[in-house]
Every structure is written in structure tokens, then in C-alpha cells.
Symmetry: D3
Subunit: 240 residues, 6 copies
């Protein structure tokens, strides 16, 4: 804790004192443009990796950046999503997963967690789709590879879960909201970006007037993404 | 989103490229020393105000930095707390509230939220103690003053709620865990620090062998804080 | 009841006695090909409108043909969906709404139901997305028209909710499951068919009538099909 | 699906076109006389076995025709029961089980379902009474015989569960509602009918004006009827 | 508290010291014969009104001696009932209501409680059947009379709710358990006794071997007993 | 039951008839001074061990005298606590555990209960803190000794859980409520008294202006108790 308090002191001496007015202004109210949902993992610093200032990102952090489907009584995520959209009028949502995620790796262990980590196990039930998808469709993968596949499928599933929230659905419907899925690769600093909006559109577009070329199909709509080799997946979209 | 992706690019070009090895190492695993629970509010950047690096803080962020008492089935906070203590072996927890908190201000509105913000309203039920405490004990306060009082009482109540979690209770009991309540003042960069753990020890210690000094007394136990004039409360401990 | 028992008697004398072997065989086990989810409404007879025999449709009927998003503890729909897919290996799901639906019309009344119909009101919370979508996007509609719009949006939303179920998601992913949304028009006997798997293309297609211009593409997104004139929507797909 | 769509076409060409007015009328509103609760099992067609027309039966179908006791938050059955009684003013309820029920047979497997069919297992918890009753009172039975016993006990228990719903209880009390338990035997087309109403009053009657004789007291217990040879049980009432 | 501690002291000096062996024996284990469920109301002392010793009554006390129907996750009553029957092998259950019950009187106020007594209001939802029964069937009553009617109906409903518990149902079924409903009249010391067991069997019996006469069918309904003049109701059984 | 009814008769003939006026008065309303929370265990008679009359103790009895932390929807304890404080204006709460508690002993068995006592197991989850505390901090103890330690820790934890209730917290805050933890030793008639309220006051008080006396220190704050040798713990306060 000493270190932490020292840090606070430094912040005050340096950063804060040189931004007094900015913070004074911030204290008047927040107007974030983006709802950023990510994992509790200590290795992720949303403001650092996006180079954003205080006031820009409204942030939810939970174990495994899980978005439980709408309907669970009184849960934290529902409150934050509702607040972001209906109170703060946010129009962009990013669900950001990350490589080497302990939650997803625990998820793949299934019921073996239930005895010694009952609360983690119960929480991970909301991510059961991720587990089922990889177990049934990635039999060929193991260890790190299986984990990477699960992590990517997981963020894609969470953006679908987001769509089950009334406020999200209503805004998406009106074209007033965009949802994005990211996977942050700690070791490379790379971010794979899946844009729900864009990819659906693509798929529709191409599926319509042209005989789609295989490589395009790859990114054609999120269910589609599932079929591809994960490396190429978001090559065109990845920011590396 | 363009701005955000630009930010990611900057991060990669500058910060990341100059810390490749550090991130390479981080990707091997996380060993955070502190569980940091704070609000979704965009104006709070935990790593900035504590001047910490990626890897140091395991972070939960929800609306109002609420710690629901233990027992609610499958909630995010229980999973994160259990993971932090039983998996990551974390020994310090900080619950960090902040000035001008929209959640607490919504809480003081009571049932008026239930119609247009049903999920926020349901979630805030877990903070009902905060509402009751200020309504019954701060009748003389209004507006900003009432809100400040509520924000401070709120963090003190959340650290009590933390004690209801089995893993937290067992470690506190064994003296292997410390819990701290902070209130971050956006406009001044100041942080009021309440240390539940230290004070219990202290209290015992001092109540036994020494005539405690007044400034120490201020923080001698969280119930204690409640009896003090809120302004002076944490003066001695506040880092301003 | 006398009438009902008479009916049973007729059934036995006529239909059953002329199909003894068929029923004998049925008693050996069921092998339905389709999971059919529809409303409790007495005016819907799934086997009649699809001209199917006993043994062909595995049927869930609840108020408003609602599919609560996955995650609610111990609910009937989750059990039936899991049973249909993981036990019966069903590969086609139809969610069938209908015109003049009392549940949807109740839904549009919002909280006014909570006092005298508390259980109906609580159940309809799972359909809140439908309410939000029409309230925010069909301000121009009233009465019957608004109801029709809500009924159609509702089935589209339920097929999205279906995707949140682990077994559904895993099979969709593997291309082993198709989901269809129907709206049955009692007065015309017509059925509007939305095919989630196929539709993302089809529906989109028809919804356009024009070679989309790039700038339109930007906002192209599956909610798009929602924007169309409801009559023309699925004309080509509608079976009338 | 082609077959299903063909069926719809047939329905429209034949049945519908020859009943246009009837359906036109139906579209004006529903006035069902009976709430019919049965299993999702594809082999059951309520309208067929009772030879009823669209508009006559308000139907709930779930796995195992289970009526969870009142009190579970926001469940489908509570909504449908409340709607049937308080909105549609229905005065007759039939809970219809059936032979060879996969749900009951799964129920008898107990916790062995929990791993691979978690949602089915959780749902069947509401039918635990059925499992306990047969396990403790039918030790002599095995296989098909045990299953048949369970299926019959199960419907009797569900009509008791119905009584726990406020609207049901209030109407039963006023003599404005009748509840019936049926077991449909797929192989014989037979239906065993249990009528809940008939029993209690008489007994109450007797317990009032006569000093019960000891020998009566001994065997006095409603479960008694359960001890009867199941075949004869409802012989007089069975419609075979 | 002084008074209470004085009381403890008296107990030790007098009662305990003169019953040392009895308590020594008790400490070896409990073998109660009866599960007694009553209200928290301070005016009820189960051991006093039944003149029983420590060790005889296993006691549940909650607001309004409510037995929530089976199925609510992790509730106190389910645990106590299961423990009483499956661990202690208890064979008699008494649900004891009482005159002037504040909980029932609150129940009759309905939703007016929800704002200032949210937890009481939520709990009383389990007693909604009582409210509905009296509101719909005792319109002629007011004040004290209405309350008395509600209190009596309430205990009868709770013994029905008891039947929804698997362990209760299984034992009732086997004739190994008896359930009794009592209403204790504080002012007269009288107790009205309803014995659930006695009624049903006979009726079942009759419904079997005789073709029920139409006129019986009409009035056939267990709620009938409720129509009797409440004073005479259990006259023969009442202990006054 | 005969015995019980005889007991009622005796009560009426003797105790009641000699206290007619007292009961007449009681029937006017209750004004208990204390909320007494204890176990269902038949060996505990709160009025006997405190030598109190009807009307003095508002009593909650559940398996293991557990106070689930605030937040669980519609639970009995929340209703009773709210009623006691907000309706009856009670200012003293006693949580009374007891030696040889079957619930705590079941708790120490952990998941082994889940199959044959599912409801008890689910309920005991709320006491998981007790299990964790003794398992991690009393490795040296076994059998009866371990059980005694668990029973004492358990009541201390329940008084912390009480603090999570809004009405409790608000009153404690204002110094208008005192909470006490007792352990009743069946075999000795002794009661160990932990006084949460007094000790907080004391601790503050003493930690400030006086050199506390050792015997007071023993109970100087509940976290404190945890560090003491359990035998000496409450010696000074125990009433034996």
C-alpha cells in the first residue's frame, strides 16, 4: 500500500497539478463517448492501450469480460449498460477480451471449478456458449491454441449477448449504436477488431450481388468468422 | 471509433514498442498485489491516479463501486473477489468511490428511478444502506453536501459488505488481508483514505498499551469515522 | 368438460382406432424434426396450420412465445431447448408469433399491468426489447398497426435470444441448426417467414429493392430489415 | 422445413379456405373455456385428442407438464395461469401427462443429468416430489412399471401445485374453477382422468358432523388413493 | 438487556440447576416429535401454550408463519422442513397462526407496503393466495372480522403449501406424516385445530366406486369447507 | 399430537386462566423490546432461558440461526428484521447460537450434503464464511472442539451480516440499536455474550481516554475476539 499511496502522491504532484483546470472541468460532469467492457485482468489498462484521457471511456470490468444475456435480476452489467445508453447517451460499445485470459481458461475446465471456486464457477455459467462452441468445433486444438480460439469466440458471443439488452437493441435498431469486439494481445500489443455492424453489412452486400470470393466470406458476418483460420481472420481489420 | 483506433496505433508505436520485453513478460502471467474496486465513471483512471503499471491492479468496475453483500447467486463481484483472493492470492483490497458520483446521486432519488431505469434501480437496491444512513442521519444536509456525505458513507459500507464474502472473511481473520476505503476527489485530485484493517489492529493495539494520539484516533475504526465531523475526518490520512 | 370428454371419446372411436399401429409405433419413442415455439393463444393449432402428424413437432407454448435470454435459473424454456437439441438432436427451430397477440398488446401497456397482473408483468419483462424497439422506432404508428409492428419485431428478437443458449449457439456455429421466425396471421391464414440462417441474406435483399449505394452500406446492418414496409417485407417468402 | 412449408400451403388451400369466416371471427378475439397444460412431447396433439377447434384450448407446453409451485420469480407458467384465469376468465384446467414421458424418465435418473443436461436438471428440480414419492413408495417397481407409476403420481402432484397459485386458489375457493389431471396413454389412446374437485369437500363435511371413528383415523390420509392398484384407480373415470 | 441477562441468571439459578441431568442428557442430541411453524410475534410462546419441555418442538418462526411453496432457491423454510423430516424423522407438523397477526394485516394492505417496507412486502408475496381468497370471497367483512377470516384461511393455505415439499409429500404419501393447522387466539387462549389428513381419502374412496351424482358434482370443491361459519368450523376439534 | 393437545388443555386450565387479563391486554398489540434470532433446535426455549413473558421477545428461528447477508430477494430474515426495526422500533438484537448445533456440524461436512439434503445444503451456503474461517484457522482442532470453535465464530459472523441490512445499519449508525451475539451451552446452561455494540463504543471510548482493564479488553471488539484463546474469550462476560 505504501507504494500505492506514493503513486497517488506522485500523481498529485505531477499529472494533476499540471492539469488542474482539466480536472476542475471534469468534476462538472462526464460525457464519455464509449462504453468499454473488459476483464479485471491487471495487465489491461484501457486508457493506456487506447491513449485516452479521463472522461473518455465508461468502463465495466468483470472476470472474463462477460456480458450475461439480459434477464438476470439486479446484475451489475445490466445497470451499467442501461446507464451508459439511457443516461449518458453513449453510441459506441467495445467488448475487449485479451490473450492468456485466466477466466476463459478456467471456463474450459468446466465443473472442476465448482468445489473450490463456487462463485467463479457460477459466474462462468454465463459464458457456457463459449465453452460449448470450442468443445464442439475445435476438437483439433489443444492448450494455448484452444485457449486463443475460445478467447476470440468469446468476445464475438458477448457482442451478441449485448444485443439482448432492451436499450442496446432499440438503439442498434435505430442505427444509433455501434458494437465492436476486440481481442487485445498482451504480448504483441496487437488488437483484433471485429465490428458487428460492418461485418454483417459486408456479408449481406456480397451475398447479394456477387458470387462472394472465399477470402471475403472469411469476414462475412460474425457467425461466418467462426469458420476461418483464426490468424487470417481479422488480418484486414487488425491493428498491429 | 476512429480516434480510439488511432489511439491504439499510437500506443503500439510509442509505449508498447518501448516496453516490448515488459509486455512479453506480462504475457507469462499476472501477479497483481491489489484488488481495486471502483466505479464505471469515465473520469476515474485507477492506473493514472495510483501511477501503477499494467500488472499491478486487478480491477472491478461497476456502477457506484458497489459490493453487494455475499449470497446473491452468480454475481460478477463474488466471482472477481473469489478469484482475486483464492486464485491470485491478493492481500490488499481498495474500494474507491469518487466525488460527484452519478450512481449515488441516483440512489438518493430512490424509487423515482424504477420506471425509466429499471436495471439501474434494481442494482442500486444493494446500496440501500447508504441511502438509509444519510436520510436518517444527515437531515441537515442538502444537494452537494448530502451527496458528499453519501459518497463517503457508501465506501465505508462497501468495505463492510466485503467482509461478508467467505474468502475475504477467512483471510481477514487470519490477518492476511487488508481492506481500504478511498474517496477520490476529482476536482482536487485528493484521496481520502479509510483503512479498515489497519485501524482494527491499531484500535486493539492502542486501546491496550498506549494513550493514542488524536490524529491517529481519527481513523481508529470505521464505525468511529461516522461520529466525526466529515470535514476533519480523514484530514490526517488524506493525501492532498 | 363434458364436451372435452366427449371429444376424447370421438378421438378414440375414430381417429385412434383407424391409426392403432401408428400410435403403437409412436409409443416406442419420439423423433421430432422441429422445435416449434409458439404462444398459449387458443387460436393457434401448430399441427393444424402445418398439417403435421403427432410425432413431428416438439412444442413449447408460453404467453407471447417468448424466449428469455439464456441465464435465468431453472426456466422452462431453457430445459426444453436443451432437451430438443442435446437429447432429440433437433436441427430446425421455429418461433411462431401471431396476429392480435394479447401478450404483446399487454406488453405495450408497460407497468400498468404490474398491480393486477403481477406474474404476467414479470414475465413480459423478458420481452422488454420488443417494447423499446417499437416505442422508439414506430412513433408514427398507433393501435392495430403498432401492435402488428411489435408482433413482427418480437419474433425477430426471440430468434436472437435463442442464439444466447449454449446448445443453440454451438450447433448454429457448426451449421447444424436453422432458426426460423414466423408470424401467423389468424385472419388470412398467412404466415410471414423470416429465416435467420438464410435470411440475413434474403430478408436483407428484399428489404432493399435498390442497388445499395456505398453510403447506405455504412449503416447496413441486420436490424435493417426492420426498417422495411412490413407488408412487403417477406412477401416473396410469405406463404399466403 | 420444405415439408413444413408445404403443410402450411395445404392448410391454406384446404382447411383455411373452407373456414374463412370462422378464422375471421377468431381474429376478433379468443374465448377459450379450458387451460390445457401438457408436455412438449411431439406425440401429443391436444386439439386432436380432444377433437377441439382452434379457440377452445389455451395451452401451456413445457418439458414434463410441470407446474412449478407458485413463488418462483418471473416464470412462464405463473404468467400463463394468471392470464388464463384473471384475463380470460377460464374455469377449467387440465394437466395432461402421458405415457413414456422422457422428462419423467430423466427425473428418475436424478443428479446424473446435472453435468450434460444442466438446464433440464435444474428444471426437473420442480418435480422432485414425484421422484421422492416413487422412490420411497414403489421400491417394488422397476423400468416401465416404475415410470408409469411416476407419470401418474406426477400429474396428481401438479394439480396440487396449481392450488398454490393465488388466482387458482381464490377461484377454487369460490367454486368457480375445476382442476383435472389426465394421463394420456399414447399406445391405447386411453386417458385416465383424476378430478381434484370431487374429493375434499365430502371429507371436510364428515369431519365436521361426526366424531371420526378411530379406524377411520388410522387410514385417514389423502395419499391413500395412491395405494390403490393403479389400473383400477380411475377405471370408472377412465375413458378407454 | 440488563433484564434479559438477569433472566438468564435466574434461569441458571433456578430452572437449570434443578434440571442439570435433563439438560446434560439433552446435550447428547435432540429427538423432537413435532415441527412447529409459527409467527415471530412476541406474544406466542410455543412451549408455553403446549406445555412442552425443551427437546420436544423443532421450531420455525418467521413473519406471518408463512410456508413459501417449494421451489424458491436456498430459503430458510425449505432447509428446516427438509432437516426436520429427513434428518430428525419428525412425523407431525403444526402450522400455528394467531389472532391479531400484524403480518396478515399488512398483507391486506397490498402494494401500499412496497415503498417503506420493501422486504416485508416481497416476503408477503408468498402469502398472496391468502389475500386473494379473502378479497374475492369475504367482501362482506371489514376490519377485525376480515382479519380473522384471513388469518384462518392463511393457515389452511400454508398446510397446502407444505404439501409441495418433496420430503413432506413423500411421507404424507406413505402415511408417515400428519399436518395440522392451528389458529391460536391470544385473547381466549383457544386454539382452532384443522387436521389436513382426515379429509381427502374418503372422497377419493367414494369417487371410485360410485357414479357421482350431478348435484354432488356441482358443489364439489374443497374450498367449500371455507364457506362454513368460521366459528362452528372446527368446533368439534377446537380446544377451548 | 394427543400429548400436544393435552398440553394446550393444561395451558388453558392453568396458566391462561390465571393470566386472563394479561393475555387480554396482549391481544391489544405487541411491544417487544428485543429481536431474538436463534436456531430451530428443539432444545432451545428462548423464553425459558431468558425467563421472559409472552410479548417480550420477537423471535426468528431458522436452521443454524443464520442471518443471510442483505440482498437475497424475498427472504424471511430480511422481512423479520425490517419489521422488527421499522415497524416495532426494536432497539436490541440478540443472535443466539448453541452448543452441539446440527446445522453447523452439517456445514463442516461441506458438499457432502448436496445430494441427500439439497435444501439444507443450499441454505448453509449463507454460512460459508463460518466454514472457511474454521477450516483455514483452526487446523489444529478436531471433532467437538472444531464444532465449538465454529459455533462461536458463526454467531460473530452473523452479527456482522446483520450490519448489511439497511435498517440495521442506519440505526446502528445513529446509535439507536445494539447487537449482541450469544452462545447458549445446553449442558451447562451457560451463555457466552459478545456485545458488538458496546464493544465498538467501548473500544473507541477506551482507546481514547483510559487505559482499558484487561477483562474489558477481552470483548473489546469482535475482530478482537478472534485473536483470543477461545476458552478465555468470554469468561468475563459469560453468565455461568
Amino acid at each position: 500500500m505504501r507504494k500505492l499511496l506514493k503513486g497517488v502522491h506522485q500523481f498529485q504532484m505531477n499529472y494533476f497539478s499540471s492539469h488542474r483546470e482539466f480536472f476542475e472541468q471534469l468534476s462538472q460532469g462526464q460525457h464519455p463517448r464509449i462504453l468499454f467492457i473488459t476483464c479485471c485482468d491487471s495487465r489491461i489498462d484501457p486508457n493506456l492501450i487506447t491513449q485516452t484521457e479521463p472522461g473518455e471511456l465508461f468502463i465495466i470490468r468483470n472476470v472474463g469480460n462477460i456480458v450475461p444475456p439480459f434477464g438476470v435480476h439486479a446484475n451489475a452489467e445490466a445497470a451499467a449498460i442501461e446507464y451508459a445508453i439511457d443516461v449518458l447517451d453513449i453510441k459506441e460499445i467495445v467488448v475487449c477480451g485479451h490473450s492468456h485470459c485466466g477466466a476463459i481458461s478456467g471456463l474450459l475446465k468446466g465443473n472442476r471449478l465448482s468445489d473450490h471456486l463456487p462463485s467463479v464457477h457460477a459466474w462462468l455459467r454465463y459464458a457456457e456458449s463459449t465453452r460449448r462452441v470450442v468443445l464442439e468445433n475445435y476438437q483439433e486444438l489443444k492448450g494455448e491454441e484452444l485457449l486463443s480460439a475460445a478467447i476470440e469466440e468469446h468476445v464475438l458471443i458477448q457482442i451478441e449477448n449485448l444485443r439482448t439488452y432492451p436499450s442496446v437493441h432499440a438503439k442498434l435498431y435505430g442505427g444509433q449504436l455501434n458494437i465492436h469486439a476486440w481481442v487485445y494481445k498482451i504480448e504483441t500489443g496487437g488488437i483484433i477488431v471485429y465490428s458487428a455492424e460492418r461485418c454483417n453489412m459486408r456479408a449481406e452486400h456480397e451475398s447479394r450481388f456477387t458470387e462472394p470470393r472465399l477470402d471475403e466470406l472469411e469476414t462475412d458476418d460474425d457467425s461466418d468468422n467462426h469458420h476461418l483460420d483464426r490468424n487470417s481472420v481479422s488480418a484486414p481489420l487488425a491493428v498491429e
